[in-house]
Each structure stands twice: as C-alpha cells, then as structure tokens.
C-alpha cells in the first residue's frame, strides 16, 4: 500500500487527537492525586490486573454469553417472523401499530418487568436482552421483504422456484441489507441491556464488576471496567460490520453502480 502526502497527513491528524487526549489526561491526572481521576498508569495496571486475568472467565464470559444468547435467539426468531409477516402487505399494515409501539418503548422500562416475572437469574437477563433485540430486527426484516422488487418475486414465481429456494435465495438475500440495519441497532441495545441488568441484579458479569467497584470506591477498577465495556462495544460493532461487509458486498456494488447511472 502506498500513501500520498495528503493521506499521510490525514492519518497523522486522525491519530494525533486521540493521542493528545490520552497524554493530556496522563499529564493532568498524575500530580493531582484526585481519588476520582487516578493517574493513567494506575488505571492501566488495574485494567491489566482485572481484565486480562481470572475475570475473563469469571465475568467477561458470563456477560458475553447472556448478550449473545439473547441477541441470536431474538434475531433468528425476528427474522423468521419478519419473513412471514413481510411477504403479506396486509399483515404488514395490520401489525404496524403494535410493532411501532414496541419499537418506541424505551427498552430499560422492561427491566423491572423481567425482574418481576422471571427473577434475577440468567434466564431473566437473556429474555430481557432478547425482548429488546427482537423488535428492531423484526421491523427491519418486514421492511426489507416488503422492499424487494416485485419483479424479482414475479421472476421466481414464473420459473416455479420452490418455496424453500424462494425463501433462501430471494427473500433472505433481498431483505439482508435492511436486516443488518436492524441487527446493528439490536446489538447496541443488547449491550445496553446486558450492562444495566448486571448493574441492577447480578452476581457476576462486567456490569456487576463495575458496579461493585464503584460501591467499594475502587475507582481505578471502575474506570478499567468502563474502558473494557468501551472496547467490548467497539469490538462487537466491528465484528458485525465485518460480517455485513462480507455478506453484502453485492449490495455495496449495486448501490455504487446505481449511483453512477
């Protein structure tokens, strides 16, 4: 790869600001001895000590398990139901107000409910995460199926494509760009729900660990946990974007081709 001068300058600029911010914090925090803002080295060593050791299996894994279980179960259900509802224009219209309502509902409001009905164990958290992930994916799947060019569906009908192939090779790929928009929303909501359900009612997990650190005034541990959540958020988001880029290469290409014309 070769960069020209301009690109190098841009890259330098892009890296300069975060580097400056981190340095500024280090310089500012080191001599202050503020208990709320411990020196950078202290936070970093807390991070290494906490999150690269035993807590990987004790806390990170339980958190990720809840998040991924809820996210995947809900997404698969939502895509399946969305494909069915999406094919019928009337089903779309009839379910619109309900879907709209559940989509507008601030997800954390459901937290007390799942605590009430399902208690404080993992099932409750997985159910909560799943419930919250379900609607964005459902809505986007329905919109995606509804948005497939009618000519593509007529072509499939004309050639007598069997239902299985129609679902696998026409409806799912056609709705995929829209489905991914829903998955992205869901994933960020899933992280939010995982964290707050662990704040409120958990005995392990990243959220629980941060909450306990705050309670016991282990400020460096709290910041280290927050940094870890940031990294997890970015990592999950990036993985989803990479999967999307791979699966939807055709979509970017065809969009670019359409805008050229």
């Amino acid at each position: 790869m070769k960069f020209n001068r301009r690109q190098l300058l841009n890259l330098a600029l892009e890296l300069a600001v975060p580097a400056a911010l981190i340095t500024a914090y280090a310089v500012w925090a080191a001599p202050r001895n503020d208990i709320y803002f411990p020196p950078l080295q202290v936070i970093l060593s807390a991070f290494v000590e906490d999150w690269l050791g035993a807590k990987v299996t004790a806390d990170i894994w339980p958190s990720l398990r809840r998040l991924l279980l809820g996210f995947f179960i809900a997404s698969i259900l939502a895509i399946a139901i969305g494909l069915v509802l999406g094919t019928s224009r009337r089903a779309r219209i009839a379910t619109a107000p309900l879907v709209d309502f559940f989509r507008s509902l601030p997800p954390p409001a459901l937290l007390p409910l799942t605590l009430l009905v399902l208690g404080v164990d993992d099932t409750a958290k997985v159910a909560l995460i799943g419930l919250v992930c379900f609607f964005p994916v459902l809505l986007n799947t329905m919109a995606g199926v509804g948005g497939i060019d009618p000519l593509l569906r007529e072509t499939a009908r004309m050639y007598g494509i069997p239902l299985r192939d129609r679902i696998l090779h026409v409806l799912i790929p056609g709705a995929m760009p829209s489905i991914f928009a829903g998955l992205r929303t869901s994933l960020s909501l899933a992280v939010i729900m995982m964290v707050i359900s662990e704040f409120v009612a958990a005995t392990n997990g990243v959220g629980y660990s941060i909450w306990r650190a705050r309670r016991s005034f282990d400020i460096a541990d709290m910041w280290a946990g927050i940094i870890l959540l940031g990294i997890l958020g970015i990592l999950l988001n990036t993985i989803l974007l990479l999967v999307e880029a791979r699966l939807l290469a055709w979509h970017r290409g065809s969009r670019a081709a359409a805008s050229r014309n």
Binding site: V17, P108, A109, I196, I226, I234
Partner: protein
C-alpha cells in the same frame, strides 16, 4: 393518453381494499388485545404476573389522574428535553465544522469513531460518582448519548451536499453567508432531522435507564416503586405509558420533519 394512464393507476390502487386497509391496523391491535386478554383469562399465563389488558388500561386510566404520575411524567420529559437541547447545542456546531472543513474532519474522525460505539450506560457509575445520583447526572448522561447521532448525521448531511448546487451558487457569485443559509443548511437538514429523531429516542432511553438503575425521580422510578410494592397492573400500566410517550415523541418528530422538509424528495409522499 396522459390522463388515461394516470386513471389506470388511481383506479387500480383504489380497488376495494382501500377501506379495508384503513381498518387493518385497528383490527391488528384489537386481535392482539383480545388474544392477550383471552390467554390470561383462560389461565395460560399466570394472572399474578400478566394482568389482562383490560386491567392494565384500567390501572393506566387511574394513574393518569394522579398528581404523582404527572410529577413523574414532568420529570422524565423535562430531563429528556434538556438533554436533547444540550446535545444539539454541542453536536450541531461540531458537526458543521467537521462537515465543512476537511482538516477538522480528519482531526476528529477517529476519535468519534472510537467514542461512538461505547455504550453510554457504561458511564452510569462514573456519572453517579462524579455528579451524584441526581437530575443533573441524568441529563448530562442522556445528553452525552444523544450527542452522537446528531453529530454523525450532521456530518453525513454536510458531506452529502450536491457539489453541483454549490458550484451553481458560486457561479452566480452568491455570498458565503447565503451559501450557508440557502444551500448547505437546507441540504443537510433531512440528515439533521434524522439525527434529532434518533437522538430523541436515545435520550429517552438513557433518562429512563438512569431513573430505573439509580432511582432518580421520573417514570422509571415509578415503575421500580410499583414493582417493589408488588403492584403488577401498575408496572404494566407505566410501561404502557412509557411506550406511548416514546411513540408520541417519535411521531412528533416525524410530523415536524415532514412539515419542514416537505420539499425534500424523501418526504414528498409522506402524509403525516
């Protein structure tokens, strides 16, 4: 010829389902409510945890007359509005600067790309610690979350301005100020509208989260209290209320956008 083709479209579209289509959403809601009611009444779901919809609506109708509910609603709404305003005050200028200047864009791009996916709820413990378990913490954190969608959309909008429109303006020697108010802002406004709408939803989520997790006055705290008092119908009624609130705010933004942006292609067919 022209008239006859347009007639074709009008007539084919207004086949009999026109009236039926209008009733479908009501039918959908009615079926859902009746089915839910039946499932609970028949004992498929335990009534202890799942009150029938009629009981929920009854509880809600009682709630909306209580001053306690008005106070909670006011708390939630005012925090939401303050957070959204605060977010817009910071996000719009930075977004304009990033959109208009490649230098500023390069300088801030990576930082925003990294900060944006950080779940803002992760900052709740820090916010409580630094600001306290109070209304300010709720507003600041919600503003922090609402900041990102407005910023990102503003930058998208500014960078998506049709260069032909700018060149046309320059060729007519239109001044910088007029270019901003007549071309750049109107072109970016649909994106900014989208950003504000997303930000509104995000701000509401964080406000309610803070109320629930930290126990700050508002709808969220009322839900927690209802749960602790084992008042199950009220828990549901309040969740219903917060859903309706979210829906009302969403709809309000959609209507305002459609009104203000009626000239924009993506809004031309929207009927509010």
């Amino acid at each position: 010829m022209m008239t006859s083709t347009s007639q074709t479209q009008v007539r084919t579209r207004s086949r009999w389902p026109a009236m039926g289509d209008m009733l479908l959403p009501f039918a959908g809601v009615a079926i859902f409510v009746v089915a839910f009611e039946a499932v609970v009444r028949l004992g498929v779901l335990p009534q202890r945890f799942f009150p029938p919809p009629s009981v929920m609506v009854w509880a809600l109708s009682n709630l909306i007359t209580q001053p306690e509910f008005h106070w909670a609603l006011w708390n939630t709404l005012s925090s939401w509005a303050a957070a959204l305003l605060l977010a817009a005050v910071f996000a719009l200028p930075i977004g304009f600067a990033m959109g208009a200047s490649p230098l500023v864009y390069s300088a801030l791009r990576l930082t925003t790309e990294f900060l944006r996916p950080i779940p803002s709820v992760a900052l709740i413990p820090a916010a409580i610690l630094l600001i306290g378990a109070n209304v300010e913490a709720k507003i600041y954190l919600a503003a922090f979350s609402a900041f990102w969608p407005i910023l990102i959309q503003t930058v998208y909008g500014m960078r998506d301005i049709d260069p032909t429109a700018l060149e046309t303006a320059r060729s007519f020697r239109i001044g910088r100020g007029d270019i901003w108010t007549r071309i750049m802002l109107p072109s970016a406004s649909p994106y900014i509208g989208t950003g504000l709408r997303i930000a509104s939803a995000v701000a509401l989520i964080i406000v309610v989260t803070m109320e629930i997790v930290v126990g700050i006055p508002g709808i969220g705290l009322m839900i927690i209290n209802a749960r602790q008092g084992a008042n199950v119908p009220n828990v549901y009624a309040l969740i219903l209320a917060s859903g309706l609130l979210g829906w009302a705010l969403n709809t309000m933004f959609a209507v305002i956008e459609a009104r203000l942006l009626h000239w924009h292609p993506s809004y031309r067919s929207v009927t509010p």
